[in-house]
Amino acid sequence: MALSGLEIYKLLPASSKDPEVKKHGNCKECGFPTCLAFAMKLGQKQAELSQCPYVEEESKAQLEASAAPPIRLITLSGDGHKLEVGNETVLFRHEKTFYHQPGLFVRVKDTQADAAEVAKAVGEYTVDYVGMDLTLDGVAVEADGGDFAATVAAVKEACPLPLVLLTEDPVTAEAGLKAAEGIQSLLWAATPENWEAMAKLAGEYKVPLAVHVDGGDVDALAALAEQVQGTGVEDIVLDPGVRDHVSSLSVFTQLRRLALKKNERKVGYPLIAFAGDDPVLAGQHIAKYAGFVVVDGFSPGTVYPLLVMRANIFTDPQKPIQVKPGVYEINNPKPSDPLMVTTNFSITYFSVANEIESSGIPGWLLVADAEGMSVLTAWAAGKFDAERIAKSVTSTGIGEKLDHQRMVIPGHVAVLMGELEEELPDWEINVGPREAVDLPNFLKMQWG
């Protein structure tokens, strides 16, 4: 947790108990008139600690620790795909935003004949959501008594994403790590029994290491993480061993609070969760604090909603996702093709654009600047009214690209019709359907 200016001041030379240090207090060498002024600037991150030559070692350590993120950033990478998790700063997304989406991994076992096939499907899966390509993040390979190294190798061959290696046996783990060389995997897990050997492997193969205790024992987890960290392994992931809804909600909340509100370094790491085949539990882990979510089974009808859920929860609440206002040409429209008007909220724009595109009907889509709001929200907020629509007609010069002067407005804002006719006297205004799904049919029946 960041220290306040005054807390920093207590660690600077002017506050020192050592007269040898204190005598430098307020010497101005840092470029600021007093230690206090320097402390304030440090607190605002407008100065560097190294500007003061006299800070004591112990204070320096404290100050540096306080500058480190409360939840460590962990990076995994595959062949061209990188995943970063951690570095979160708030408990609730409205307080600022959640920064790093949890990685979604599909679990396969080394006894599973189709492991590589599943991995291939996972690696190839991509789905468009409001212009973003959503993908999964990797495969978790579990040692289940089969040929672990061979399975890891086959999965790695089939899928370019990062891996999680699931085994508590150091010998198996090393075989897996060897097979996975060249990519940055996560090794799960160090336990109170095997941690020394596992930590050694994590050090040698330079991979992050998950530490795992049973039953949500936060003390045992912190102690284990500290032991592992003591061996020089810095990249740690926590598995408190809770697998059901209610205990994972409690324990994950407690760990997040400890890291953020108590600055508890021992648990300042991302969490890994195992949701089994329950998409609802996976959804909870996305919203409530997991850094890695492992699910069993791969099915697009379940993966797609989960990816959208993740995208929603990790959208910055201060900035609605937007597209650029202007004219969008869909399916190579000619001057005689229909003109439709909508807003620049991404979800709105893509609902409409995707419908027109997939119908094959060519058309012009005029996207008014509604400050990133949906049709009705913008209308209610006065950001999508006749005046604004008329303005975007003029500013884009869309009229010159058409051989007609006719436009379709969203059915939800049929009330705008009258005012629009006043603002754009030369235009014919048509009210379209309420939902975009019904737009292609409307165009087929009504346009022409």
Partner: protein
């Protein structure tokens, strides 16, 4: 080894307890009542406060077969959608705690029609009822006033009560012993404001559920999610005008989404239609359970099962 002290919040506020429905003892005809609210901490953090009641699941039943529902939904219910009484019974069998009767928009709507429909549904099920109009302020008033009279004493929840029409609906609730669903468009201050206006009309806050407006997964769900978290935090911090239990409508919203409505012309990556559609509703609903929903109105029986399983898991402590 020193133990780590887990930080616990000490909240001063508490969500109001609200009871839907009335049995014969209380002047109604319901076989049972449903109480929600009473939380003294954030959702399901049993280690620092009480969650005395599980959230209630209401199943939506319409007055006639919906013209615009996804075939996935219509198939799941079968013939009962032709008859609101049969549908209400089926909803009870599918595990509803509450039945929500919604009037759809058509030409036969009238005060008499509204009374009759309410009567057959009240006779068909012993569960408490929520009654929603078609969602147009004036029309809602015209239907909900006779509904309130017909259902006198049943402690129905009448909705939706918005800034435009709250006076009429609140007056009807006052006169006939009902509750209201106070809806605002995803805004903490507007919600507070509406609760104040309603309580200024002397309707006790024990008869107001607050409806923060729901967006579907992929279509604004996160706005509702965050507004609910903020409302719940305000309630726990002691702000009396945000301490109403929250009602959300994930069924309606999720089934409006293209993902739930159609099979044709959608990307292959969307996967199996029925699987995706039910997930759409279930995940919209479950996110709102995490952010503090007390009453969830759902549409598909399979979503009801899954959300119920989640609630049971979250309440088992």
């Amino acid at each position: 080894m020193p133990t780590i002290e887990v930080p616990k919040e000490k909240w001063s506020g508490k969500v109001r307890e609200i009871t839907l429905g009335a049995t014969a003892a209380d002047g109604g005809t319901r076989a049972k009542t449903v109480t929600v609210g009473g939380e003294t901490t954030l959702p399901y953090l049993h280690f620092e406060g009480d969650i005395p009641h599980p959230p209630a699941i209401a199943i939506e039943v319409q007055d006639r077969k919906p013209a615009d529902w996804s075939p996935v939904l219509l198939e799941a219910w079968g013939d009962v959608t032709e008859d609101p009484a049969a549908w209400a019974k089926a909803a009870e069998e599918a595990g509803a705690d509450v039945v929500m009767l919604r009037f759809s928009l058509h030409d036969d709507l009238s005060a008499e029609y509204a009374r009759e429909t309410l009567r057959v549904v009240l006779d068909a099920t012993g569960l408490p009822l929520i009654v929603f109009g078609p969602g147009q302020a004036e029309l809602d008033n015209d239907l909900l006033v006779p509904v309130a009279e017909e259902g006198k004493g049943e402690k129905l929840v009448l909705g939706v009560c918005e800034d435009k029409n709250y006076r009429t609906i609140v007056a009807a609730a006052l006169a006939h012993g009902h509750l209201v669903d106070a809806r605002c468009p995803m805004d903490v201050n507007l919600s507070k404001q509406l609760n104040i206006l309603i309580s200024d009309m002397n309707l006790p806050l024990e008869r107001v559920v607050m409806d923060p407006t729901t967006g579907a997964l992929g279509y604004g769900m996160e706005y509702g999610y965050s507004v609910m978290e903020r409302l719940r935090l305000a309630a726990l911090q002691g702000d009396g005008m945000t301490q109403q239990p929250m009602l959300v409508t994930p069924g309606e919203e999720a089934w409006r989404a293209k993902e739930a409505r159609t099979e044709e012309g959608v990307p292959e990556a969307w996967g199996d239609w029925a699987e995706r559609a039910v997930n759409w509703e279930t995940l919209t609903a479950s996110a709102l359970v995490e952010s503090g929903a007390d009453i969830l109105v759902l549409r598909h029986p399979e979503s009801v099962k899954r959300v119920r399983a989640m609630i049971d898991a979250l309440m088992s402590n």
